[in-house]
Amino acid sequence: MYGIKYFPLGGKRKGVDIKGGKDKMKGMTLIVKKTTQLIAGMIFLYGIYVIVHGHLTPGGGFAGGVIIAGAFILVTLAFGSDFLKLVKEEMGTTIVENIAIITVILIATAGFLFGTKIFFNNFLPKGIIGDLVSAGVLPLYNIFVGIEVAASIFIIFLSLIIFKEESQK
């Protein structure tokens, strides 16, 4: 009986609407917050693992990026944030995203400028198959594409939330 009051079943609790509205951005209940604290870090680490081992095991920049974005989304949903902070966050994330994608293009053109003067050339030494540091530029692509994907999905989510908040005013 006592715990049910704080259990995030969704829908309407006593007078408070979890689904939407201004109340949402104040965050969810204590249990959710504590659980999120525990889990979000692990999800984040798992995302990094998937990205870094992209050339050895299944996964890669895209999967890992989406997982990292999932961790951020979880934290935002659980803890909430006020409106102004959200807008700032969105601006920052946009810049991160653009820098990441421009780095991908720079790496691609790097083979164009030096190396063998070919666009998209894998100009770094390949190393031994199975090592963490191997496969030339592929891990770099994985990392920057991962950052870019994470930022993109987080921006999509944030802009949806911001739009909802704005249009309710």
Binding site: F62, G130, I153, S159, L160, F163, K164, S167
Partner: protein
């Protein structure tokens, strides 16, 4: 061959939904279903009997691997699908705020 036909049937179900439904969200769902069937079609094309997942283990060479090319294509296509769905959802929520309904028959400002 039956799997390919079923896969194409899934595609047709999506097409049917996209053409006949009158609800914005339902149209988006139908498009997602078409997307799924296309991904599955590519994955089916790459399968080889007795093949293993295309991850090389230097200790055990000379295995049969499934075709990695369609998998790479699907990987690309999945992310493109995510992008289109996100954009479509943004337009849908915008239209809902303007009209207060998802029904396409009431959203008919433009002729033709």
């Amino acid at each position: 061959m039956i799997t390919y036909i079923l896969c194409f049937m899934l595609f047709l179900v999506g097409l049917y939904g996209a053409v006949t439904r009158r609800n914005l969200v339902k149209i988006a769902i139908s498009l997602s279903i078409m997307e799924f069937s296309t991904f599955l079609f590519f994955a089916l094309l790459g399968y080889i009997d007795g093949g293993v997942a295309p991850i090389v283990n230097p200790a055990e060479p000379n295995k049969i691997y499934v075709d990695p090319l369609p998998q790479a294509l699907v990987l690309t296509a999945i992310v493109i699908g995510l992008a289109t769905t996100a954009l479509m959802m943004a337009i849908i929520i915008r239209l809902y705020r303007k009209y207060g309904t998802f029904d396409i028959r009431e959203i008919k400002n433009l002729r033709g």
